[in-house]
């Protein structure tokens, strides 16, 4: 098996703060990888290093057989690595359809082709009711789907999702889970996701890696991760306690 994404010894410092410390992992083609860890662990930073938003302090990153270390975000997007942002802000000048067309314009110069591809994705993402709305007018769940749809419209080989289930209710989480499965299996786009919503990430990931204070502390199948004492101590413990408290209340 060949990895689609390979991260080798990536370190990222912000001044004196080490947000990622010597992180190595790889994602195989067809593998759905989850990335979890407590707040401030460095998960988004790692995505930003992979996607070229930040230059790494040390280490190498390979995507689809090519080195992409410290390439610019738009170069990496053109190679077929798409991503969503944890905080999605759209000032609202573009409608949902137009937003998604921006993505599809990456692969074509023709307005009609861009529109047609955007409409296909709108169908898949079930955004048909919202095409003419401004993104800022939509409920959170729909906004997250627009962000995903826009990234998908660039026709990527791999998609990085940063907390797309945050702020969703249980029904919406189920919908999101089905959607991610559809993207990964039916559309054949490798998904890697950062997620705090355990029922989602533990359900759909083939493998999970865990960050804590910038270090990769564990990696394995979801069942193994759930039982890993170090992970429970650093992260799952507080999560489970919080969840039990919620369920008890």
């Amino acid at each position: 098996m060949t990895p689609i994404l390979e991260v080798q010894g990536v370190t990222k410092d912000f001044g004196g703060l080490r947000a990622n410390n010597d992180i190595s992992f790889s994602v195989q083609k067809g593998e759905l990888l989850g990335l979890i860890g407590p707040n401030g662990a460095g998960k988004s930073t790692l995505f930003n290093c992979v996607a070229g938003v930040y230059n790494v302090t040390a280490g190498h990153i390979f995507f689809d057989g090519r080195e992409i270390t410290n390439k610019k975000p738009y170069e990496i997007a053109r190679l077929g690595l798409a991503r969503t942002f944890q905080i999605f802000v759209a000032s609202g000048d573009l409608s949902v359809l137009e937003n998604i067309m921006v993505g599809s314009f990456l692969r074509t110069h023709s307005r009609s082709v861009a529109k047609q591809r955007a409409e296909e994705i709108i169908d898949i993402m079930e955004l048909g009711d919202h095409v003419d709305h401004w993104v800022s007018e939509l409920p959170v769940a729909a906004q997250k789907r627009v962000a995903m749809a826009t990234a998908l419209a660039t026709q990527p080989k791999m998609l990085l999702l940063d907390e797309v289930a945050a702020g969703l209710n249980p029904t919406e989480i189920d919908g999101m889970m089905a959607l991610i499965r559809q993207i990964h299996y039916d559309m054949g786009i490798n998904v890697m996701l950062i997620e705090h919503v355990m029922e989602l990430v533990m359900n759909i990931s083939h493998r999970v890696i865990v960050l804590d204070s910038g270090n990769l502390i564990a990696e394995g199948k979801p069942e193994e991760i759930k039982q890993n004492p170090e992970v429970i101590k650093a992260y799952l413990g507080e999560r489970f306690v919080a969840q039990q408290r919620r369920e008890g209340a």
Partner: protein
């Protein structure tokens, strides 16, 4: 074929808008035929010039969201190219205008590359600075007449080639022709790949970059497009006025008026620059002629412009067109 269709595609606007614009176009066509004063003709010519300036500004400033306050330098490059080539080598307007446009585009690349490394207010201030520097250069450059500027010699006969007419209606129709080229170009541009990419950059530059958009290069391209519009109007200005002075064609006033008209009308919309010029040019003309006779009130027009900018910025950053759209959304 698709391009041709897209140029004339207004399907995203309500029918009513297109009808109103159509009526307005009819008015523009017949205006010289109905009785008018020379003052109102001069005002209409100013309106068309500023509508074109504003349409150009709107590509980078409106759709791209990069507030450019240095457009006068490109009007100057166009005007000077046309004037110098005519005076020294007897080159017709229709040849010198594209050459002036070429010079202006080259200059826009030269300064655009570093300018677009800056964002927000820094960018706006830097555009002012570059324009003022070029103004200084032209004021001491003897080849182009220094601070005195240039006087264009009159031909014996009216000439279409040199844009010299006895009757302002000819200037008017040539400008109207340029206006429609510009208008339909922008109608295509706003829904082109570059148009979409610019709007995405304005929305959120980081997201745009993650979608494969080279934001820096897109802005430079849009800046060159904006520049082309402004340079051609500058060339026209030289022929229409028979004389150019650096303090006039390359002034900060002109740069600010261009940006202001587009913003007042509605930055980032097709109609915005036209509305802005239609409202502010007559105001500017009448204020100018009214204040001209009152020595103590000089500068009051600037105060009024400043007030308008503050009101727009405070209540509706998307200008008059933004107010119209808001009212519509409320009704539905």
């Amino acid at each position: 074929m698709e391009t041709l269709r897209n140029i004339f595609d207004f399907s995203d606007f309500p029918r009513k808008d297109v009808a109103v614009f159509g009526l307005f176009c009819v008015f523009l066509f017949i205006f010289p035929l109905i009785p008018h004063s020379s003052f109102s003709m001069a005002t209409m010519i100013q309106f068309l010039m500023f509508a074109l300036y504003g349409m150009g500004w709107n590509t980078i400033g409106g759709y791209g969201g990069q507030v450019d306050l240095g457009k006068a330098q490109f009007a100057g490059i166009g005007a000077y190219t046309t004037a110098v080539m005519l005076i020294r080598w007897n080159v017709p307007f229709w040849v010198s205008a594209p050459i002036g446009m070429g010079f202006a585009i080259i200059w826009s690349f030269v300064i655009g590359y570093p300018l677009f490394r800056m964002r927000g207010h820094y960018f706006a201030i830097a555009t002012i600075a570059t324009s003022l520097v070029l103004l200084d250069v032209f004021q001491v450059w003897d080849f182009v007449g220094g601070a005195q500027g240039l006087e264009i010699p009159l031909k014996k006969m009216p000439s279409f080639l040199y844009l010299q007419f006895r009757n302002d209606a000819y200037y008017y129709y040539i400008l109207l022709f340029l206006f429609f080229i510009g208008f339909f170009y922008i109608n295509w541009f706003r829904k082109s790949r570059l148009g979409f990419q610019l709007r995405a950059i304005k929305d959120n530059e980081e997201v745009a970059r993650s979608l494969g958009i080279n934001a820096h290069w897109c802005k430079i391209k849009a800046y060159a497009i904006a520049t082309s519009f402004v340079a051609v109007v500058g060339s026209f200005h030289a022929c229409y006025n028979f004389n150019i002075e650096p303090e006039d064609i390359m002034s900060l006033d002109l740069s600010i008026l261009i940006a202001m008209m587009a913003m007042v009308g509605g930055a980032g919309s097709l109609w915005g620059p036209i509305i802005g010029a239609a409202v502010l040019v007559p105001l500017k003309s009448y204020l100018g002629s009214w204040l001209g006779g009152k020595a103590g009130l000089a500068g009051l027009d600037l105060v009024i412009y400043a007030l308008i900018i503050m009101v727009i910025a405070a209540f509706e950053p998307r200008g008059i067109w933004g107010i119209v759209e808001k009212a519509r959304r409320k009704r539905t």
